[in-house]
Symmetry: C2
Subunit: 265 residues, 2 copies
């Protein structure tokens, strides 16, 4: 272990954001976590609903939203506006000194507009190896603020971009790994990585990187989990201390290092 201070980066998605009672309970637990921390939140159904109310049709190709100019306005309004500021106001209620950010704020996260290939994804932003502005984010953290990132970035030339929240969370973790002992937590709908996908109590406590190949080969983990785990071990290979995958409702167990499945080197 280095003598850097600890930093927890926690990503929540639509299943929490779309449920006000669960979101409130989660934010109270998040606020109570000691030490430096960053929250990254995805979108949820509010943007889809707003787009529908405005007569825009949500286009999704290969699980990725096509972001045309009107849809970019919608996601900027919802993610960086309504959802982000509502979360910040709740965290302040719970005495967590949150600051809501997009990648444009403080030039914290730059992305590039996804190149047009067979599909034109519109204003979708891809994260590159140097996308995370470590210096900017450290200034927020060292000032005592808790950054809350929405999944909106910019290209540095005035253009906002819609970006995947999971990717932002892992890019932040990797980008800050040389300054902090970073733990990355992905919250999803299950209590952890399951040994038996039909048995919610079959959570695997720890997976070491050396075990991952054999788990894959023996089909011990559900095929749908493989990309998530691969991304996690990639982050660990780049200096992130550990990655936890679990249920946001159980965040209070994280202080005892007992949150879902822990992945480490």
């Amino acid at each position: 272990m280095s003598n850097h201070s600890d930093l927890s980066i926690i990503k929540i998605g639509g299943n929490i954001i779309d449920d006000p009672a669960r979101l409130d309970a989660f934010l109270e637990k998040f606020a109570a976590l000691p030490g430096k921390k960053i929250l990254v939140h995805g979108g949820g159904k509010i943007a889809t609903r707003l787009a529908a109310d405005l007569g825009l049709e949500a286009q999704v190709v290969d699980g990725r939203r096509i972001t045309d100019a009107e849809m970019l306005k919608v996601v900027t309004m919802v993610y960086a506006g309504l959802t982000n500021k509502s979360i910040v106001a709740y965290l302040q209620k719970y005495s967590c000194d949150a600051v809501g950010l997009s990648g444009a704020d403080g030039n914290a996260i730059k992305a590039v507009k996804r190149p047009v290939g067979e599909i034109d994804y519109g204003f979708a932003g891809d994260i590159l190896a140097d996308s995370v502005n470590e210096h900017a984010i450290k200034r927020f953290l060292e000032s005592g603020f808790t950054p809350v990132f929405s999944a909106i970035t910019h290209n540095g030339l005035g253009q906002l971009l819609n970006t995947n929240a999971d990717t932002i969370a892992s890019a932040l973790a990797v980008g800050l790994a040389s300054s902090y002992n970073v733990s990355l937590l992905y919250c999803f709908e299950k209590d952890g990585v399951l040994r038996d996908v039909n048995d919610d109590s079959s959570v695997i406590e720890v997976i070491r990187s050396g075990e991952f190949e054999s788990l894959k080969a023996n089909q011990v983990v559900h095929a749908g989990m493989i990309p998530k785990l691969q991304n996690a071990f990639d982050a660990i290979a780049k200096g992130v201390v550990d990655v936890f995958i679990g249920n946001a409702d159980n965040l209070h167990h994280y202080q005892q290092q007992k949150f879902g499945t822990r992945l480490s080197a």
Copy 2:
């Protein structure tokens, strides 16, 4: 003069925000201003249009918008989301290290929900004498960031509130007057305070507080300007160095202290 550093607080309104070309030109000039600075922006027509598109009817009583729960969502999305992040992305393009904030972020500005009297204004926030969190805003400024405030505040208990942008600008100016030499700039549609309301070239260069009463008595300034001037001199009485009232298009003249009409003690 104290040995504090200078701070310029600049407020722009709908006439600039609703005109992309003017907004872009203004932001380039704002970015070029040396020294510490804060931008405060109002709403503009986008929120009204979005509300109409969603079938909400904008209710205005005595020039103040009634903010019901649905309208609060709309203004939070537009002011704190779309408008704020678009401005920040443009300022970053112009190498100004902007951070877009609501009053909830960093607990920077707290307000109280306007008490229900004859009229229920809904989620409208009133600024009090201790609303501005000087310590929080100094942390942003001293970290080298340029805060960009939307006109959304919070009550500290998780509730966002819609707040008048002019009031936010003057509250920030007064709240930071003991830490900085604060100049407050109000941008509006005229080049300054006019001696003759029908002659746009009749800008009064300087008004000292001692002259204000006689200007009022002699009806030298347009009646509609009196409340603006009164608020400005109130801010000066509370420690703000000077207040400028002028046209955002002329911001580049401010470096020579030649922006519109200058009010001072």
